[in-house]
């Protein structure tokens, strides 16, 4: 399947495709050198929903997240086996270019990491390198719409030339989200996006995630059970490199099938 054609077209009304699996992973094993970080993970990620990955530190949820846009490729000793498919296409197939893949699967990191450049440049960089804008006005349009979708436009509209690093932590994280959606991905991976933020900034990001769900498939790694319960429709619980249980968020929190899940969500382990 041609990945370019599958990209979300923001200009057209969004087709609602409920319960279609955007990402399917089968028997995924990840090794760091000799150490196995993920064991036989089988997980389907529904399209246009928020899937929360929860579990204690070192359980492999971040590792799984980073497999989806092949950020683990950067680590020399990391080895991934099994299959991960995005819209039915194996993302680890030799003909897949990581650069194209990452244009389809964006990422927001734990610590806000804007480039030490202007706010405009931060958002414009992705569209520029992917050639998404043919003129300056088109680029400005993309920047504006991305910032609006990240609910940051009103706060920064009059100071787009100021460095992105000068914003507050919460604003920086929303800038990073704007930067990610400017490339028009289909999937957005969020690795503990609120762990460095105060509760008010966190609430804003959560609200934003809820809005973004209309257009994007979102995966969020979080340590906060409340956050998972608030923002996600589906939850997957990882423990010691294994996917213990996954299902609708309400089921995971109210009637977990596995004892470990129950203990974790009620705070007895973790």
């Amino acid at each position: 399947m041609d990945m370019q054609a599958a990209r979300v077209d923001l200009s057209k009304p969004v087709e609602i495709m409920p319960e279609v699996d955007k990402i399917t992973s089968r028997d995924v094993d990840v090794f760091y050198g000799d150490k196995q970080a993920l064991k036989q993970v089988n997980l389907d990620i529904p399209a246009r929903q928020v899937t929360a990955l929860i579990g204690p530190s070192g359980c492999g949820k971040s590792t799984y997240l980073r497999c989806l846009n092949r950020m683990n490729d950067v680590i020399d000793t990391c080895r991934v086996t099994g299959s991960i498919e995005l819209d039915g296409q194996d993302i680890y197939a030799p003909e897949v270019d990581v650069v194209t893949l990452r244009a389809h699967v964006g990422m927001v990191f734990q610590k806000p990491n804007p480039f030490p450049k202007s706010i405009f440049e931060n958002v414009a960089y992705g569209p520029k390198i992917h050639g998404l804008a043919s003129s300056k006005s088109e680029l400005e349009g993309i920047v504006e719409s991305s910032l609006k979708r990240a609910s940051l436009w009103d706060e920064v509209a009059d100071r787009l030339d100021e460095p992105g690093t000068g914003l507050s932590g919460g604003q920086q994280q929303r800038l990073c989200i704007a930067r990610a959606i400017a490339v028009r991905p289909e999937v957005i991976l969020m690795d503990e996006p609120c762990s460095a933020l105060d509760p008010i900034a966190t609430a804003k990001i959560e609200e934003l995630i809820d809005e973004l769900r209309e257009n994007f498939t979102i995966l969020i790694v979080t340590h906060s059970m409340q956050q998972a319960a608030r923002v996600s429709q589906k939850t997957a619980f990882f423990h010691l490199g294994e996917l213990v249980e996954n299902g609708p968020t309400s089921d995971i929190f109210t009637k977990p099938q596995d004892e470990r899940t129950g203990n974790y969500v009620t705070g007895r382990i973790g």
Partner: protein, 425 residues
């Protein structure tokens, strides 16, 4: 009630004492090193500053057409080869008409620099209307006269132990009393090339030689060094081979510089037949020496760029090369430049490798390019320090002052550059 004051007293006292003792050692160490530095700088300044002034003797010169151009045809070739020294000497003799004997006359002539004739020639060639006129002209004093004017020849020494005898000193005193001795800023020292005569020797040749050498060195070592650093830091897999390369780069930084000079002599001069004594070869040899410094500094500054920046760029689909050249390298550039400037400063002070490739020659002409024979500042210092004439002692110190000024400027530039370009995140 707890008595904080008395309970911990015995051990606290010794702890405080050892703290104070350690602070005192630290201050002492700093004072000692500062003391040595001050001693060095003061000695050099005291010895070198007189070299920045130059003594001139004012003589009433008769630009006699009979001597300069007897034929009256103003032929430049004839004008150029006329005996101008005779004009200067006869003007000097007019001031001291009693001097008759040949031997004494020669002593009298020794007051003027051997360059006096050339100074007059240049004046005439510049302005032909001078011929036939009489004019007061300031001519360079000889190095010995200059030493006396600057108070560096003591009259208390027995006559046979000094360069100037009593009669000469008498003449010099007379000149001073009649007000025809002038002290001016020594511009020729900064603008002319080397000379056998201390009063005429300048450092411009060496400065230009150093400049061309560093130019070649920078052009070679900066691109190669930074690209090597970028490859090793951003691209190279952590293999056994790359670890070996890393260790050897660090070893290379510790190789004595003369070894690089020998390498330049054997390979660049003898095998490839590049011109000897030239800034081209000097720069290539110094580039070898500077490379490890630049590579190590550049790698350190690349490593200082937070990994989150790389992740951010990779995360929105930038390729490895885009990530490196759009984000990482620009952030590391100030550090790379600082490393390069510090490497250049090291290269500027380097003497040994340049001796090996023949940049130690006595060269009067100012070099005009990288393939002209030249010498470098530290080599010039070495050459002057080795010269027997006493006048070169102050020149040596003065050249050291110039070298130190250049080094301070370069290091200052490195600091300012770092301050200005540094990005905070």
């Amino acid at each position: 009630m707890t008595d904080i004051a008395s309970k911990y007293d015995p051990r606290l006292k010794s702890r405080h004492a050892s703290e104070k003792r350690f602070k005192a050692y630290g201050i002492l160490a700093i004072l000692i090193s500062l003391g040595f530095l001050a001693l060095m700088v003061t000695t050099i300044l005291i010895q070198g500053i007189p070299a920045f002034s130059k003594n001139y003797v004012g003589l009433t010169i008769v630009f006699d057409e009979e001597v300069i151009n007897p034929d009256g045809d103003r032929d430049p070739a004839k004008l150029g080869s006329a005996n101008y020294t005779k004009l200067a000497r006869s003007a000097l003799r007019k001031l001291f008409p009693d001097v008759k004997k040949r031997k004494e006359r020669r002593k009298l002539n020794a007051i003027l620099s051997s360059d006096a004739g050339y100074e007059l020639r240049n004046m005439v060639l510049e302005d032909l209307s001078l011929i036939g006129t009489t004019k007061q002209v300031w001519l360079s004093a000889s190095d010995e006269a200059e030493l006396y004017f600057k108070g560096q020849i003591s009259t208390e020494l027995p006559e046979d132990q000094r360069k100037l005898n009593d009669i000469q000193i008498g003449w010099l005193d007379t000149l001073t009393e009649t007000g025809v001795v002038d002290t001016r800023f020594n511009t020729p020292f900064l603008t002319s090339g080397d000379s056998r005569e201390p009063e005429l020797a300048g450092i411009m040749g060496a400065v230009l030689g150093s400049f061309f050498t560093l130019l070649v060195c920078f052009v070679l070592s900066f691109p190669i060094g930074t690209l090597a650093a970028i490859y090793l830091e951003e691209y190279a897999p952590k293999s056994r081979l790359n670890r070996l390369i890393e260790v050897n780069i660090n070893n290379l930084a510790a190789v004595p510089s003369i070894v690089f000079g020998l390498l330049g002599l054997a390979i660049l001069l003898n095998t490839f037949g590049l011109p000897r004594s030239t800034p081209l070869v000097g720069g290539m040899v110094l580039a070898l020496m500077t490379l490890p410094t630049i590579i190590i500094a550049s790698r350190a500054s690349l490593r200082a760029v937070p990994p989150s920046i790389r992740e951010a760029a990779l995360g929105i689909g930038a390729s490895k090369t885009q990530t490196t050249f759009h984000h990482v390298a620009p952030l590391a550039l100030p550090g790379m430049l600082t490393g390069a400037i510090i490497g250049m400063a090291q290269a500027l002070g380097e003497t040994a490798p340049l001796l090996m490739i023949g940049m130690v020659a006595f060269i009067v002409d100012l070099p005009g390019g990288v393939t002209d024979a030249a010498t470098a500042l530290p080599v010039q210092i070495f050459l002057w320090a080795d010269s027997p004439e006493r006048g070169f002692a102050e020149k040596t110190s003065a050249a050291i002052i110039v070298l130190l000024i250049f080094l301070v400027i370069m290091n200052l530039a490195a600091i300012l550059l770092r301050r200005k370009l540094e990005t905070r995140w």
